[in-house]
């Protein structure tokens, strides 16, 4: 049994505590940022190095409560990459903040929480990871204590998050009540055997669990908190929320829900389809009307949650397209995480110039005042819009292809039209950057932000041009779920 597979999580926890302790003694606290980055990098390399594994930890001491497989590893890559980008950008954002030790502690521990959700094979472990990530991100969202918007966003996030945790736990307790186990695989087997007897209560349990995860995924109608929280939070934290914490909702839903769904054999694809369609349409339509770039990105994230939810629909509808749909879903989760995290970092960079305002007008002429930032932002936005040759195009391509393979032409039509609609608001930002009148002279772009953005954009472009390896990983990850 190789406990080494748990090293990434353990490193993060150990270093997070170390950071907190060192923060008491060290004067030059910026060092802690570098320590966190190093820890994340080591964890990321460990995950990348052990990608194709399957370790269920049967027997003492875990009793199958956790499972490290390529599906979990794929999401761990997402979480770690996002946390890495966020920490690099934070070197600048919180470089002078006296309490940055707490900040890095919270980021690391939140990431560890997300990773525990990814490897959980047990609803209790999953819930604890979920709460670990949630509690630390509640604190992160309100990290700028003097910002009114920040306080409002954090409070909303906390209230909605607390409610969703309660609902989730209630759903879990119902599921436990029926099956007598909290182990996801055992629960699946039980439900498969006794589906008819417990159909109504199992349905209720799944609905509650869906609602609990839906808050994190920001699916309509559980999305209300997201725009306010993303807008109010410090931009780097918004990046972590939109790119990391949201994907945690997705892996939890994929793990629990898909298995249960197959077990209960409910024909829920139509319900999912309506949810996905409403989510993407509402996200896109409302995003068009936004004048704040952060709110625009928040609604665009909601729209992307709708796209990823297509994977649920296809899987629920047709077994033979399930693998490609799941692969497309998690690929899109990755591409959206990369592009959105870095786009929020751009907002942070622009916030430096214009006293933290994220008004669309402040992007006027960014192509002249901050040419590197503008160019990188353009690539990110094109990736979000799904325009080739970016990674975002490839992932949408696979996702929409899976809808056709699953025989859901109408869903694919709605999805591509939505995607075409979204080009409008992404292009509007590009237009402002390149043909708006700049209000100030050319500035020196902060190197930490540029570094984080360049890393993200290089990944976006390389994966866009040569998606084969990552796409193979996504397929093997998708296979791992069914096993």
């Amino acid at each position: 049994m190789s406990y080494l597979l748990l090293a990434p999580e353990l490193i993060l926890i150990a270093v997070s505590i170390l950071v907190l302790l060192l923060g008491l003694f060290i004067k030059e606290k910026k060092v802690l940022g570098y320590v966190s980055i190093a820890a994340l990098l080591v964890a990321l390399l460990l995950v990348l190095g052990s990608f194709n594994v399957k370790e269920s930890f049967i027997g003492y001491p875990f009793y199958s409560a956790i499972v490290v497989d390529s599906f979990a590893q794929f999401f761990n890559i997402i979480f770690l990459t996002v946390a890495l980008l966020v920490c690099i950008a934070s070197l600048e954002y919180y470089g002078k903040n006296p309490s940055q030790d707490e900040y890095y502690f919270l980021v690391l521990i939140a990431t560890a929480g997300m990773m525990f959700v990814a490897i959980a094979n047990d609803l209790i472990v999953l819930f604890i990871g979920f709460e670990l990530a949630s509690l630390s991100t509640y604190a992160l969202a309100g990290f700028d204590k003097h910002s009114r918007l920040g306080a409002e966003g954090a409070l909303k996030y906390f209230v909605f998050g607390g409610l969703s945790s309660a609902i989730l736990l209630f759903g879990i307790s119902l599921a436990y009540g029926i099956s007598g186990t909290v182990n996801i695989l055992e629960m699946k087997e039980f439900l498969a055997a006794h589906a008819v007897r417990f159909e109504s209560i199992a349905t209720l349990a799944m609905l509650l669990i869906l609602a609990g995860f839906g808050f994190k995924m920001a699916l309509v109608p559980f999305h209300m908190w997201a725009p306010d929280t993303y807008e109010g939070s410090p931009s780097v934290v918004s990046a972590l929320l939109a790119a990391g914490s949201k994907k945690m909702g997705f892996i939890a839903a994929f793990r629990v829900f898909l298995l249960a769904l197959i077990a209960i054999k409910l024909q829920w694809y139509l319900a999912f389809a309506i949810l996905a369609v409403i989510t993407m349409t509402l996200g896109n339509v409302v995003a068009i009307m936004q004048n704040s770039v952060k709110r625009m990105l928040a609604y665009s994230s909601i729209a992307h949650a709708g796209y990823i939810a297509i994977a649920f629909v296809v899987i629920a509808h047709s077994q033979n397209a399930a693998q490609i749909a799941l692969a497309g879903g998690i690929l899109h989760a990755l591409s959206h995480a990369l592009a959105t995290a870095s786009a929020f970092i751009v907002v942070a960079a622009v916030g430096l110039i214009y006293s933290k305002s994220d008004d669309m007008e402040n992007y006027d002429g960014l192509g002249k005042t901050a040419p590197t930032t503008a160019l990188l932002m353009t690539v990110m936005l094109l990736s979000l819009a799904g325009i080739p040759p970016t990674f975002g195009f490839y992932t949408k391509f696979v996702l929409f292809l899976s809808a056709i393979q699953g025989g859901l032409l109408w869903l694919a039509v709605i999805a591509v039209l939505n995607s075409a609609l979204s080009v409008y608001y992404y292009a509007r930002v590009i237009m402002r950057m390149y043909w708006g009148k700049p209000k100030i002279e050319k500035i020196k772009e902060p190197s930490a932000y540029v570094a984080a953005m360049i890393i993200a954009v290089i990944i976006i472009v390389i994966l866009g041009l040569y998606p084969n390896p990552i796409s193979e990983w996504a397929y093997s990850a998708a296979e791992a779920v069914w096993r």
Partner: protein, 503 residues
């Protein structure tokens, strides 16, 4: 290796131009790389073997094997003239734009990126690759309109982007469906164009899917061409675009739609249904009839030329429809080769036209025909080149446009007589708006309010003269090009059911 070499040169050139510090470096990079691409495409044209079809200069590398995506390129008699056209127009545009001052490095980088993606569209033999290039074309054009455009550039740029992007994604759905049904039937999931198209007619599709796929692709191509009533993005884009943008837009970008009809829709026409033949013919006819009348009403010479493009592209739809309709082989092949020739001819002719509009605007400060007048007196060299271009566009014998339109009309008449007769009604209007515009702008008393207008600069003259020479040379002796197209059309006709599809 020719094709990858062209693409590599243009991409490298685009990057180099973007990174170059001065305007002189940027334009030198642009001229050198676009002319290198032109040279290679001429070499390709010389070494082309008509009998080999798509095997000419074919390259194949695996890319994403799991989904069946490959880097697969090659050319045949439809795409090779398009590659040549793109290379000619872009190379001459780089010369024409020699005097560009505003953000020159970005300008030339976008010009080369445009050249790169357009050639990519024509050489791709894999739907994924094809779609990437097809969409990539939008980005440099979006920026060309947006950064160097006129007063209403915001509206035009975004309208262009959204309108054509919607058309592309609808086309993509059709591509997905072909991919899916091919994979389901044969077990081979691939985006390879050659494989998919050759197997397409044998796939057991329901008539709904067959018609959906065809209509989705047709929609994508008709918007690009554009056919009335999907043309509204074009006049806006043209009016606001900088001259080079307009030349590339009308000269090459619109040809993507016409090329799509040949490459994809002819092999995919639902055999049992004649509805689509009439649909394509009627879209062509409406464009042919509507555009000249709309052009007559335009006060802005650039908008007038934009509408003339729509009319000329209508002839291509007509030729394609006539090729598929039932009838004797000789006229059908004739119509198709005429349509292919029109793709090429219109690309060159419209470059002269938009080049003229750009020169008029640049030298006189206005594009409104009423405010011009008597320009022949101040700009004799320009007047000669421009008027030749306008005559070519009108379809004057001895020039390229005549060869193309004559072949289309003559070749279509036996299959679609009424539509051809209706299309002929447009001829007086076409002649009318061309002559009227030339008369008002170029002849008559000189409008003194224009001040002291100078004649062409050397780079403008070089580019314009080269285009005009091509018009005359290939108008008087079209054989080298026409032969390639004719033999390709003769190969293509074997794809269709023998005798064509009975309307």
């Amino acid at each position: 290796m020719y094709i990858s070499l062209i693409l590599a040169i243009l991409l490298a050139g685009s990057t180099a131009a973007f990174l170059s510090r001065t305007r002189e470096q940027a334009r030198m990079v642009a001229v050198v790389s676009s002319w290198a691409a032109l040279l290679i495409s001429i070499l390709m044209f010389i070494n082309y073997e008509p009998a080999n079809g798509l095997n000419n200069f074919r390259e194949f590398y695996e890319w994403i094997p799991r989904i069946g995506i490959n880097y697969h390129v090659g050319v045949d008699g439809v795409s090779l003239p398009m590659v040549l056209l793109t290379a000619i127009v872009s190379a001459l545009c780089a010369v024409y734009a020699w005097g560009e001052k505003h953000r020159a490095n970005q300008f030339f980088a976008l010009l080369l990126l445009m050249d790169f993606s357009l050639i990519g569209v024509f050489v791709s033999l894999d739907f994924f690759l094809f779609y990437i290039f097809w969409e990539l074309v939008l980005i440099p054009m979006f920026f060309l309109i947006g950064i160097w455009g006129g007063p209403r550039k915001d509206y035009s740029a975004i309208k262009f982007l959204i309108y054509t992007h919607v058309a592309s994604v609808v086309m993509l759905l059709g591509i997905f469906a072909i991919y899916y049904f091919h994979g389901k039937t044969t077990g081979v999931y691939t985006f390879d164009i050659v494989m998919l198209l050759s197997a397409y007619q044998t796939l057991p599709l329901t008539s709904f899917w067959r018609e959906f796929i065809f209509a989705a692709l047709l929609f994508g191509f008709l918007v690009k061409m554009p056919a009335v009533p999907f043309h509204t993005w074009l006049p806006d884009a043209h009016v606001e675009a900088p001259t080079v943008g307009s030349i590339l837009l009308a000269g090459v970008l619109l040809k993507m739609g016409g090329y799509g009809l040949f490459r994809f829709l002819i092999p995919m026409i639902p055999n049992a249904s004649h509805l689509f033949i009439y649909a394509i013919a009627l879209f062509g006819l409406i464009s042919i009839l509507y555009a000249p009348i709309a052009a007559l009403a335009q006060p802005d010479i650039k908008k007038l030329i934009a509408f003339s493009s729509i009319g000329h592209m209508g002839f291509i739809s007509l030729g394609v429809a006539a090729f598929m309709a039932a009838g004797a082989e000789v006229p059908r092949i004739f119509a198709a080769s005429g349509a292919m020739f029109q793709l090429f001819a219109h690309g060159i002719i419209t470059s002269v036209l938009f080049g003229s509009a750009g020169i008029i605007e640049h030298h006189t400060g206005t594009r409104i025909i009423q405010d011009l007048g008597g320009l022949t007196k101040k700009m004799p060299k320009f007047a000669f080149l421009m008027i030749t271009g306008f005559f070519a566009s009108m379809g004057f014998p001895g020039m390229m446009g005549f060869v193309a339109e004559f072949s289309i009309l003559a070749g279509s008449y036996p299959q679609l007589p009424y539509i051809v007769i209706a299309a002929m009604l447009s001829i007086p209007f076409t002649a009318g708006y061309h002559l009227w515009a030339v008369q008002r702008a170029m002849f008559g008393p000189y409008n003194e309010r224009l001040g002291n207008v100078t004649d062409l600069t050397w780079y403008e003259f070089t580019a314009m003269a080269a285009w005009v020479l091509l018009i005359l040379a290939l108008g008087l002796y079209p054989m080298p090009l026409f032969e390639v197209m004719h033999s390709t059309a003769a190969q293509f006709i074997t794809i269709l059911p023998s005798g064509g599809i009975v309307p």
